[in-house]
């Protein structure tokens, strides 16, 4: 089912360019009149993230239901609702985790509402002679860059790239990793050893350098290529994880039983193994988002990120580090934005782990 979701996901990635957008935009124009707050780019982001949030929700739900399955399999007398109330309580109890969740939530709101929140258009340039490199003030909270663009607005819009990259790349990585890990873990034997050798090989690439090379294969680094590359570069961890899970679960009674009852491969994987591996997958996925965001930032810093003038936090730092002597607040702010986001995701991930993982429960 993950694969299915991934299918959709890829579809979306391709789809975003498709004509469907124009029609969407035009209908919006008809609805709101000419002055639609959202541009095509916005819609693009909106739909994809909404979709992804949906996907995550689905996954969590799925894993929740499956938790119940494994509980019963394990003969521990706990209904799903009890299970869930525990998880919920555990999570809410963890103040840091809640904080993380709130940060992420806030960030998504910001990303969704950019057109309303940002005081200026992020790429619109002001009077480049009079209004460039202004210091922070009431009308320009973080001053303006050398194109007289409002840095604050750029950082607000930058959130979209980072969030999009983080989310999509992670989705890709996790899906891929799960698929590979599942195959290796389920079949074991030589299949496993071949796959794992490959994983080892991938792991021994210094990611950044490889991406630098591969990215050159494309003329212009559209955000989608970057996302794909980052995804393709960071699935190995998940693969190992899932494989391990499968290996362990295969020893469990409920699986032996199911197999003894002659359940088919598909059923075994999707009904028994996968659901019970989801908890760690979700946790590691959440924690992974942070890494992907950092990777995107590093790429942008090397000048390999999204093409200007589109703002991303990474390329704002890259772009304004020359001002460090004088307008130091610009790179500082953009960098802090990255840090806060990643912190948010990691807190969230920790929280989820502590909540979902019974072993860690005090």
């Amino acid at each position: 089912m993950i694969l299915g979701l991934f299918g959709l996901l890829v579809g979306l990635a391709g789809w975003h360019a498709g004509t469907l957008w124009d029609t969407l935009a035009h209908t919006l124009e008809k609805l709101f009149g000419a002055n639609v707050p959202y541009t095509l780019r916005d819609l693009d982001f909106l739909v994809s993230t909404l979709f992804l949030l949906g996907m995550l929700a689905a996954l969590v739900l799925y894993s929740g239901l499956s938790c119940q399955r494994i509980r019963q399999a394990d003969r521990t007398a706990q209904g799903p609702e009890r299970q869930w109330s525990i998880v919920k309580r555990q999570f809410l109890k963890n103040r840091l985790a809640v904080a993380g969740a709130l940060i992420i939530l806030a960030l998504y709101l910001v990303a969704f509402l950019c057109p309303f929140l940002a005081p200026y258009d992020p790429v619109e340039q002001g009077d480049r002679v009079q209004e460039r490199l202004l210091s922070p003030s009431a009308e320009h909270l973080l001053g303006t860059d050398r194109f007289a663009r409002d840095v604050f607005s750029r950082i607000i819009y930058g959130s979209r790239i980072s969030l999009l990259v983080g989310f999509l790349a992670m989705g890709l990585a996790v899906t891929l990793g799960t698929a590979v890990g599942a195959v290796a873990g389920y079949y074991g034997g030589w299949v496993d050893s071949v796959i794992m050798r490959f994983v080892d090989m991938m792991l021994s690439f210094p990611t950044l350098i490889l991406i630098i090379t591969v990215i050159a294969l494309w003329r212009n680094q559209s955000i989608w290529i970057i996302i794909t590359l980052i995804g393709l570069m960071s699935w190995m961890g998940v693969a190992r994880l899932v494989r391990g899970q499968f290996m362990a679960l295969k020893e469990r009674e409920f699986f032996q039983a199911a197999r003894a009852l002659g359940a088919g491969t598909g059923r075994l994987i999707f009904q028994h193994l996968l659901p019970n591996s989801l908890t760690p997958i979700i946790v590691s996925a959440t924690l992974r988002v942070g890494n992907t965001i950092l990777l995107e930032a590093s790429l942008s810093y090397l000048g390999l990120g999204v093409q200007p003038p589109t703002p991303s936090w990474g390329n704002i730092v890259y772009d304004t580090k020359g001002n460090l002597f004088t307008e130091w607040w610009m790179p500082l702010a953009a960098g802090m934005a990255i840090v806060i986001t990643v912190v948010g995701y990691n807190l969230l991930g920790d929280g989820l782990r502590d909540a979902l993982d019974p072993r860690l429960r005090e």
Partner: protein, 569 residues
């Protein structure tokens, strides 16, 4: 020293150079309170075969001013050298070091005329096809061997060897052979007559035969000499730590006497901010091609002196003439008028630059002072475009013509922030006249590849102007394929003029032809000539006798010195 035309790549390799300061020689800035020295440009004298006594006198004066020895100069450079062997070096850092380690037959004067160096004197034969050099007999390689005519001949043979791939091999194309008359006399025999015979003969550092003759041509690219050169110049090679620094030390038995500074160290720092930081904190003493954005901060530093020199390079926005969009001259002129070049200079170069009207910069003798120009005028631009049929018929704010929107991609190379910025600015400026521009910033190698394949609509790039007046490789229709006429500019009349001018021995006649040629290009606007950046150099004020000259900031590097009481190291 050997300066050549090169595409300024990655923005790291601006061939920098300044002109003679208004201040008189010897009087160095630290005496006067002056901390920013603006230098006025003076064009070279074109074809110059006779000595320029005035400059030679000054050179010797500089050399003989009483001075203290000692101290070290740390030069910050963003890129490492690739080789210290003139035959294989491609990076600018390399050629700067080579300038200190090796002698050429002649030294270049501030006005591009030739001064004695390894060669004491030279003269042409009657038919002007033979050029004889008389070498000094007191020049020694750093390993003690004498430098002789045999080295000169050997060097020439290596330079033209196809199995070595010397970068400026083309300069030797009209030299038939090099003959050793006696140990200190060498003769170059030319196939034909042309203005730059002397320059072509002397270009390139003379190399030690007794060391390199053992090396097969194919192995020249990787021979140990590339990293452990033995020269005969004022400084001798000491150590090169890859990606860290190259250190040279004073050559005690240099024929003109020991240079004052004990050591000169080229420190490699791969990051612009870091370099500026070290200049500020005094970890490095000198940096050329300082990005304008740092000027303000660095000029504030008490212990730094700035030298502002007119640029030897210009950046342009080239229109691919094979693309139907840009085939109309009027459209190209309109595009130029749509760009506020002064603003680019003001905002991106912090006013350290000028608008070049044509491809030949003021510092070149053939420069045309009043070319037709297309100053910023969006109104006129729209009008021109309208006349060419580009109107905003569907009222969406973008110009269109028979249903096709006026939009194109502008490519440039990554790493040169100013160029990247220009794309952003230009995109905004074109928007005002209703033209949609998509920036596309590519890696250097990819960018060059696309330019060669003509796989671009418009591109921002730059040329740095060479010593020779020759427009062939960039503008001639023969250069369209796998040469440097990227935009495929083709104009028979221009070709004819150019070909004639190259070989015109009469400077005045030549000048007229070059002017005509420049007018054509200015008229046709195959490029929009964006800006010619001034070159910003910062040097620590303790250094005396700093004489930045037209031929480069390192014109008299070997003569810089520091008073004992001010010496740092």
């Amino acid at each position: 020293m050997n300066r050549i035309v090169r595409i300024t790549s990655l923005g790291l390799f601006f061939t920098s150079l300044s002109c003679s300061p208004s201040s008189t020689p010897g009087d160095s800035p630290s005496d006067s309170a002056q901390r920013v020295i603006e230098v006025e440009a003076r064009p070279d004298r074109g074809r110059s075969e006779e000595h320029n006594l005035e400059f030679e006198a000054r050179w010797n004066e500089l050399y003989n001013t009483p001075h203290d020895n000692g101290d070290t100069l740390v030069i910050g450079t963003i890129g490492d050298a690739d080789s210290l062997n003139d035959l294989t070096s491609a990076a600018i850092t390399g050629s700067n070091v080579i300038g200190l380690l090796f002698l050429s037959l002649t030294r270049t004067n501030p006005d591009f005329s030739h001064a004695p160096s390894l060669a004491e004197s030279w003269q042409f034969s009657e038919d002007h096809l033979e050029l004889t050099f008389h070498l000094r007999d007191d020049v020694f390689w750093h390993d003690g061997v004498k430098t002789t005519a045999h080295d000169v001949k050997f060097t020439f043979e290596k330079q033209i060897s196809p199995n070595i791939g010397w970068a400026t091999i083309k300069w030797k194309q009209f030299i038939k052979e090099c003959v050793v008359v006696d140990d200190y006399t060498v003769k170059f025999i030319f196939e034909r007559l042309y203005p730059y015979q002397l320059m072509d003969a002397v270009v390139g550092a003379v190399l030690p035969k007794h060391i390199l003759e053992k090396v097969p041509d194919e192995e020249m690219v990787s021979t140990d000499f590339n990293r452990n050169p033995v020269g005969n110049g004022p400084y001798r090679f000491k150590v090169w730590k890859a990606q860290q620094y190259i250190e040279v030390e004073a050559n005690e038995n240099y024929f003109a006497g020991r240079p004052p500074l004990d050591r000169i160290i080229f420190k490699v720092v791969p990051d612009q901010e870091n370099l500026a930081l070290q200049l500020k904190s005094g970890e490095i003493d000198f940096m050329d091609g300082v990005p304008p954005r740092f000027f303000e901060e660095l000029a504030r530093q008490e212990n730094l002196v700035a030298y502002i020199a007119p640029g030897r390079s210009y950046s342009y926005l080239g229109w691919n003439l094979l693309n139907p969009l840009f085939q109309s001259k009027k459209v190209r002129q309109a595009l130029t008028m749509a760009i506020n070049r002064q603003e680019i200079i003001d905002s991106l170069l912090f006013e350290f630059g000028e608008i070049p009207k044509g491809p030949v910069l003021p510092i070149i003798w053939a420069h045309h002072p009043n070319l037709p120009d297309f100053p910023y005028d969006p109104e006129k631009a729209r009008q021109y475009l309208a006349e060419e049929g580009w109107k905003d018929s569907d009222g969406d704010g973008w110009l269109d013509k028979d249903g096709q929107r006026f939009s194109f991609t502008v490519k440039t190379n990554k790493g040169n922030q100013i160029r990247e910025d220009i794309l952003i600015l230009v995109q905004d400026m074109f928007k005002d006249v209703g033209i949609a521009v998509r920036p596309n910033i590519l890696e250097w190698t990819v960018f060059i590849g696309d330019m060669n394949k003509k796989d671009f609509e418009a591109a921002v790039a730059g040329w740095s102007v060479g010593l020779k007046m020759d427009m062939t490789t960039i503008w001639h229709s023969d250069s369209i394929n796998d040469k440097f006429n990227f935009v495929s500019y083709s104009n028979p009349e221009f070709d004819r003029l150019n070909d004639a001018a190259i070989f015109e021995m009469d400077s005045e006649k030549a000048k007229q032809m070059w002017w005509r040629a420049q007018e054509m290009i200015a008229e046709d606007q195959p490029y929009t000539f964006l800006y010619s950046p001034k070159d910003i150099n910062f040097v620590h004020r303790r250094f005396q006798n700093v004489q930045m000259e037209t031929v480069g900031w390192n014109y008299n590097l070997e003569q810089w010195w520091v008073p004992k009481d001010k010496q740092k190291y």
